[in-house]
Point group: C2
Amino acid sequence: MRNGQSRREILASSGAALLAATLPACGRAQEPPKRKLGYAIVGLGSYATRQIMPRLKDCEFAKLTALVSGTPEKLERFGTEYGIPKTHRYSYANYDSIRDNPDIDLVYVVLPNSLHAEYSIRASQAGKHVLCEKPMAVSSAECEAMIAAAKKAGKKLMIGYRSHFEPYNRHGISLVKSGFIGRPRLITSEHGFNAQPNQWRLDRPLSGGGSMMDIGIYSLNAARYLAGEEPIEVSAMESTDRSDPRFRNVEDRIDWQMRFPSGALAACVSSYSSNHNAWRATGTEGWVGMEPSTPYDGHQMWTRKKGKTEQVTLPAPAKNQFVAQLDHLAECAISGREPIVAGEEGLKDMRLIEAIYRAAREGKTIRVAKA
Amino acid sequence: MRNGQSRREILASSGAALLAATLPACGRAQEPPKRKLGYAIVGLGSYATRQIMPRLKDCEFAKLTALVSGTPEKLERFGTEYGIPKTHRYSYANYDSIRDNPDIDLVYVVLPNSLHAEYSIRASQAGKHVLCEKPMAVSSAECEAMIAAAKKAGKKLMIGYRSHFEPYNRHGISLVKSGFIGRPRLITSEHGFNAQPNQWRLDRPLSGGGSMMDIGIYSLNAARYLAGEEPIEVSAMESTDRSDPRFRNVEDRIDWQMRFPSGALAACVSSYSSNHNAWRATGTEGWVGMEPSTPYDGHQMWTRKKGKTEQVTLPAPAKNQFVAQLDHLAECAISGREPIVAGEEGLKDMRLIEAIYRAAREGKTIRVAKA
């Protein structure tokens, strides 16, 4: 999380009347923690090993203490690289024994989607706080079970929505909330990439679905955090070339519309066959937009108001989005506060994903039940 | 229309492998015309008097020869300004007598939408070629009657789709057709403005509808000309604040999706409560986009391919979009060729508008009948 100083810098640099950053700051520990909390990383795929694990050394409240993988070679290689003793390297067979390891406070589940629920729930049952990658699971029923398990354990459950910890996206939320764009009328949110063949993302038993269960969730979540309200209707169109070997059992693209209670609409894109990475919130007075909107780095933002388009440049944050996210769960574990992207946030997205799939399948606008 | 020379300049400047501009060039008269054809302008509102009439002096094949208005003061004022003799100034009462005026070859109908059909048909019946502003009419039945009347008269009927005569939009069509973006997957097309109160556009008996029947048609037409194929399905959401006095009997915004036979989708925006003026065609290999896309001038275009975004700058055309459009009908009248945006083009849009309204009303994806 940004500290007070850098937040003021951001406000000063924006050239716009702004409210303070509006995502609730998780409670900072009143005193420096006696020790950094320990993360076990579950699943040593490329996202875990290239994006997450290298960032843990920069955390203020957390450190890497354990690894879980089904591949002994990976445990050996990354265990050696990160100085994780053999006692702190787990297979899926002895995963539950993490409960006996006091050096593990937090578990980060970075497995294929269909394994999220099981490994999150077992971590909760082992008495650990859980950070689970998005999508939270492959059904809302699974999400509900995960929330129940964490609650029963009295431990935190957080979903890996890293854009909530990224300064430009946070600034965009603030701008919309401050009234900078006037009354919000349309949010466009477009995310997609050309999927490479032969990966678990394209295998429904592991992924639970196609682009919607992967990159599409960025479009959905951004539309919701920018609107600052929950959709009440969705309509959708899917387009998948089933003769493309990548798309034998998952969808390529699904584009959808959402209606919010205020009357604002959203037009969202999810694609495995073209590159998209942008959002824009347009209101009665102007717009704020990003492209790219949710990359690992290199975010760019523009605003337009009174006929003038301006690029927004924010100072580099003290912690990048990965570090801030990792520290956030640790801070919440220490303070007892709820994460800003708790399990309920993942459940909301999953219920909408189910509605989007249904809207596309039935060719009908679907009213969304209140969470 | 651009001549061969300027077309080559455009190709050279694009930095991309291009096919020749792909809209069919209307047949040029084999010899210079013996005389410029004469336009009667029907309806002296701001679009006619500020955008159309000042451009007629720049036409190669046409000139202004007559005015039609229900307001005697306007006939006097603009008649004097443009040197139109009293014999060539008409009211709606004696409009049909234009048939007896050999100085009128072409009639440009720039009236409120619900009057397009009647005044176009009467012009056809008077033996004149017709250029009618978009939307062509307020129903597909009216469009069909207009086409029949022009056919019966053996005269041309063209719809005022000026973007088809604008170099950047034409270049965009060429880029998509050339394969520059790979296989097209998504077209976004967004047009809207904050409607001022108390104007005929907000009065359903005159406008036939809200933003969809005005600025929204730019989104629809652009999606079609960029896709280069006709939609087979539409879904839509309308959002209108009926407590806003502007929107008592017309819609504010209607956003919709379309599916094309190739599997490409379109996400389109029409708004009377926020500013939008952009399109982007995204394919498997990259994209081409414009913002603003359909202004009177000041068009801007970008492409993105292989991770590189580049602005495209085209040389100024010999004729701007207004002059090129006005000359096109005159050239077609001389050569006998069909306009590139004939009545059938307006009818296609109108059938889709009817489907879009129905999709929004019924909350269902509507399959579109083949034209």
